[in-house]
Symmetry: C2
Subunit: 356 residues, 2 copies
Amino acid sequence: MTQVEITQPASYTGRSMLVNIKDIARIAGVGISTVSRVINNSGSVSDATRKKVTETINANHYVPNNSARNLKITQSKNIALIVKDISNPFFNKMIQVIEPRIALQGYPLMIQNVDASADELDIAIQEARDRNLCGVIIMGGCYSYSEERFRHLSIPCVLLTVSARPDVDPALYSSITIDDEQEGCRATEYLIGLGHRRIGFIYSALEPVTPNTLRFLGYQRALKEHDIPFDPNLVANSMNIRESGYTTGFRAMKQLYSKNRDMTAVFAFADILAIGAAKAVLSMGLSIPDDISIVGFDGIEMAEYYHPSLDTMYQPAAEMALSATNTLFDMIQGNSSKHIVYESVLLKRGSCRKLL
Amino acid sequence: MTQVEITQPASYTGRSMLVNIKDIARIAGVGISTVSRVINNSGSVSDATRKKVTETINANHYVPNNSARNLKITQSKNIALIVKDISNPFFNKMIQVIEPRIALQGYPLMIQNVDASADELDIAIQEARDRNLCGVIIMGGCYSYSEERFRHLSIPCVLLTVSARPDVDPALYSSITIDDEQEGCRATEYLIGLGHRRIGFIYSALEPVTPNTLRFLGYQRALKEHDIPFDPNLVANSMNIRESGYTTGFRAMKQLYSKNRDMTAVFAFADILAIGAAKAVLSMGLSIPDDISIVGFDGIEMAEYYHPSLDTMYQPAAEMALSATNTLFDMIQGNSSKHIVYESVLLKRGSCRKLL
DNA sequence: TTGTACGCGTTATCAA
DNA sequence: TTGATAACGCGTACAA
């Protein structure tokens, strides 16, 4: 590591030196409101005046202060996207759809990452006020929001991948989800249909009700419906939020395999865990799917590029993200809320085999 | 897809209904400044008054308006992290270090994603003004910032993974980088040292000077120093920014292999490309490293969890991220700027073989 | 078409 | 320990 330290400390101009709308007006020899009109393209300004003001703005590198603007303005165009764990590749995929879509409408988007322990609705309430938001999308999180919290968030809100508690008035928010329990059940039934009976389940859950716990319920339901006894030894639940999903999956698989040599398949609640689990299998010198079948959940790109490509319960991330932005714009325009449940698609790529 | 539309449109309370500091003062029967003192823990307030005000705040769900606060406040504690492509796993790794570190100091961090075509310095200048920032970290981007732009950005600025043009006064910014050309050279020399002569290079570059182009220069330098002729046919440069890194790497490898059956090794400028390239090799039924050796760059977690695990030029992402935040705090406290160059570590995991 | 003056919600100064 | 009041930078009636 090479380090070069500059001896002469940088001197910053400081806010007092920053040029504001009043300075521009003075320099250009016009009134403040004229400058404002030029900036916002509102009202009517003569071409000569407009030119003069524009030139002054450029020459002095004037940048309007949004804090002051937000203070005055009634209806802003600020939208916030609050994400629980921005490093999740599945969420990343959605962000890449949401962002250009919102930018296209001329709305500035701010992404706010919140950590696992934070209450995203509290943050949304604060941000709504601070940035004078006109709408918010919340990605990730859990099902524990109360009706009272939504009432305090007095702007259109779309929940993406989660919903609220059943007792919350559905008019207060929109939700774009999949039926996690149902799809978890389907993924498990896929393995059962291939003849597997000793099926492991890998997940990590902190909150009481999350998509993960719902998928776990689906796993249990599938077993029950096919008269397969539920065995707690086949379930690995990591409460360690410090480690990555890959590591969690890796360790969970090692643990499951050491305890259950008769296990023939594993369902991981997310692809990143499935990949970690797959690495554990492969690094033990075992084969996928000959020794262990693996099915993941989400349908992230990496599940396809892994070798072998992993079977997964694909969530239509792009459609869901698009739907979320459209619904938000609808709500901003005064339309009512929507609750849309998408269906997953089981992608079969060869990481699960049929038992004889 | 199931859709439930709510007939009754939500009616939002609207900003006029929002309670502000004046309301709290009135309800609590105290002066505005007393409420302000309670909120900010400044000045002295009697316990009884403090209790009364706190209760009023909670009962009325008062949330201070940060726009107004930023307008008044001299020194804010807002820090922005501007990221060019937030979905890059390598950047994600850094974000996970930067965020808690900044939060620990009690500074609110806002992450702003900018797309490939945007000028991150322009955005920084705007944000600095809007959010009354006290500092900014810029991740990714290119080497094309001019001195003038830095002067307009009148707050401490740390560039992470890139630096500025050599003619820019180094006192105006800090930079945390690696020597991309040198490390690109080292990665190539690693392959040469194993006996490879026909070495492909995969990259994608849009801007004139980026870390990618520097690594490419390093690749060329290594060849030259070992008297290996540079062959343009061995270079795949994707200009398509719409497709993912995995896809780019996959297609690049297919293309390189079809054109160069005598190619024995490939150096990809980033691990995500290396993974795509690896998948191409494996899906053609070839072996890594028996048929093709692959070395990547960055050292993202996925390179390890891939099978086979990929050799890579590891960047000390966590250290660099930590260094960036520390340097920023130093600058905020009035210290001078720093320019730190880290060294990469070549991780050998078996995806490259020695030629006989 | 242009300029003046007021208020947005907050913090800081100062006097009480 | 408190409260009145002047900024902060901007948008917008309203007057000219």
